[in-house]
Symmetry: C2
Subunit: 526 residues, 2 copies
Amino acid sequence: MSEMIFMVEYVESEMKKVDVWKLKKYVCKVKPMDIMTGKNIIVLNKAEAQEHDIYSGYRTELKHDGKSIITIVDVSEEIVEPGEVGIFRDLTTWHKMKKGDTVEIVHMDRPESITYIKKKLDKGALNAQEIRTIVKEIMQDKLSEIETSAWIAAAYINGFTDDEIIALAEATVDSGDQLNLGKHPILDKHCIGGVAGNRTTMIVVPIITALGLYMPKTSSRSITSAAGTADTMEVLADVTFNMEELRSMVLKAKGAIVWGGGMKLAPVDDKLIRVRHPLSLDPEGMLLASILGKKKSVGAEYAIIDIPVGRGVKVPYIERGNELAKHFISVGDRLGIKIEALITDGAEPVGNGIGPALECFDVLNVLQGKGPEDLKHKSVLLAGKLLELCGKVDKGQGYGIAEKTLMSGKALAKFREIVEIQGGNPNVSGYDIKIGDHTHIVTSEVSGSIFHIDNKTMAKIARIAGSPRDKGAGVLLHRVRGDRVEVGDKLYTIFAESEAKLDFTIKAIKDLEPIEMRKMLLGSLQ
Amino acid sequence: MSEMIFMVEYVESEMKKVDVWKLKKYVCKVKPMDIMTGKNIIVLNKAEAQEHDIYSGYRTELKHDGKSIITIVDVSEEIVEPGEVGIFRDLTTWHKMKKGDTVEIVHMDRPESITYIKKKLDKGALNAQEIRTIVKEIMQDKLSEIETSAWIAAAYINGFTDDEIIALAEATVDSGDQLNLGKHPILDKHCIGGVAGNRTTMIVVPIITALGLYMPKTSSRSITSAAGTADTMEVLADVTFNMEELRSMVLKAKGAIVWGGGMKLAPVDDKLIRVRHPLSLDPEGMLLASILGKKKSVGAEYAIIDIPVGRGVKVPYIERGNELAKHFISVGDRLGIKIEALITDGAEPVGNGIGPALECFDVLNVLQGKGPEDLKHKSVLLAGKLLELCGKVDKGQGYGIAEKTLMSGKALAKFREIVEIQGGNPNVSGYDIKIGDHTHIVTSEVSGSIFHIDNKTMAKIARIAGSPRDKGAGVLLHRVRGDRVEVGDKLYTIFAESEAKLDFTIKAIKDLEPIEMRKMLLGSLQ
């Protein structure tokens, strides 16, 4: 309860801008503490901090060796004596502090953003400077998650104007490094996600680059899915490169498929996603700024946005998909990115494999001119649209040219070149991919036709089996929607890298229904 | 960035309620860590946690010795080995864990509240059961500050229905202990705050109780002000009592003036205030539920709500004060509390002293039949209205009867009785109060009339001088608004308990303008 004496000048009115507490010098000796938390936490003696109107949860500036670091305050009555400051290992390592070093604790200026977040809560629109300030203070760790969460909630309820989205996208670009190839045109693609498998990027990039165009593709790792493109590419090659390495690879091979998180690409977005996740808050304006900011950071001029619609993905109906598509196009236009948004069927997985190695196997098969048919068709479709969008080929010619590039083996050759330049084995074939050797075949207990294969439940099963961490773990589908099956027919196989994980997965699927059979009677009321 | 693989099933769809991860047993040995943070933090080995789909920032259940504790996860690559769980001292102390104890880490159920907070963000109204669940999960620490902040932002933007306010007030009452005196009527008062000095409670309670009515007053400590009622009462007596002690004191003396934070009174409110503070978010519905929930917790049947209006306090205009007043009355009615809301002049401090001892000195002077006139008048007014509200005296008689009770010395006698029962010296007089003996008199540098004395700036000066922690520190005003002063006339005196603090305050006031003189020219444009 004494922590309730909590905020004092920090949240005070705008009345007086002068922070008189700053005049007070508060000098401490460093006491290193062997804890890491990923945050800049310091521990102050409770009574001494209180004398300076600093309380648990406050942000303060820590001055050390001429540098100023924003820190989050914990307090302690015992572990830290007056005159000491406990410093977690994140900080001591990073800033080379050692026991007994003298540091100064200074009141942090009230974040300017507080006023702007309040304005947004009050349904106001922020100008570019105000958005830039919020982004800057998030990057400086001046804003807490409480404050950031309130901004996101306000954006969710009150919406963002297009000006706000543009400003946020541009500030997102500025928050990190940018790729400057000095080449044109630069092509890109993005899928808003939710579909299991669906590993089109690893097919689109080789088709596009085989035709002489630039495609420096940064991808994400899995968040809730069984595998992200970065996890899947990593089965064959390194994916962690910095911006300079990406630049030199793309100048050589025209394309690359790397992990966006490995470089300082739009880092403010990572911080926003962390706060958006617990409530799955995806304010449309933030989603657009995040996706297009990342495209802009790699210099994209033309981009295909894949918007899957259907049961269980983010966009449930085509009409909503169309609205979102128009918004992508208009905002992209203002950012200097020409966009075509495709509404695709996202109700079921695309491809047979779910999990890094299994998805990689699908990709190599498609590049070798084989199936799975749905993955091949979708990838060629995306590549073709991209070729038309950037004016490389005439309207109506894209699909054919993309398909020819794929079936001729040129895309495969290009893919091998990219794998090699990223440190992998260029001669890899599907048979070299290590799949988990503990397997369990799930068969149908009824006869009927398959009504639905659930993306999320399949992803969950693959994750329980160990994916994406165990690259060889996952699910291989033997059936697609609409198939007729009899009792005992194979539905899917679970792969795991250990017997224990396989056993656990077998136990877990008893509570899940990844494949629904068609039923006539859906319910009954009396 | 690897922390971005962050939420997985936690925020997943409602699709499947079964949390299959729960089936996995995750047994660790306790490794105590000598850190206190006031939160239930555990540190897991990063790779091992990830195998169980647990990431930094997650909430998990920790099972130990038959008990289940909700904890917040930090991860570490080095300090904690696989098979270990680092446990901060808050938890080891409280739950008697020691090195090597075996505990189980279990996935926490997805908080039910996530769905309800989402509903509120989508402009829905929550029912009583949903509000109760949110309050319950906040109390269990199942909800993080990110989630709570989003709820508060949603309440701020979308508002609360009266049903929601009632439900929140009732859930607030249920979150803590309740006072059950078995006596009637129970009277109460509350000021929504912002006015420096203004220590009416310590005069109203003795007047009311001297007339034979019950007034078990719980008060707060200072948050941004120089002193709360609890800080001021503490100059003379103890204020930290549990509910049972409060009950027995009130049964004897009819009244008491204690610190609400000393007992488990509406504890969910403390957690909400912590999250509301950084942005000063006071959604009206939460304000009402908070204030009236606390009144309800002590069994109040009649209450005066003091709503100061004016420059720099929460309510700037009378019209807004009237709206708020009506809302207090209607919600109070539904909670079974008869309310009269008074709109008062809050633009300037009430009383001469600002700081615990100086305010206490004012209170004793008023109880002894002396000034300050404004504090005396306001206290008598509040007491008189309360007497009329509960039907103890006829309309129009309250002020006179309250004044008579004060001037006759009966209120003083009652106050001494309350001081004694709370462990203080009943024979205390103003001269016994220890005021800081380092003083500095601030004189006017101009001649003119005083236009404004600023509550917040005066509170700031008192706090810089050491109040409320140094009870003798503060400011004594020599002038009121409208007074004519000449160059060199005394304006106010600063009191501090050390020369260093006094010097610092003198330096600090150079940047502040606590007293504004009347000016004709307010600005000039060219």
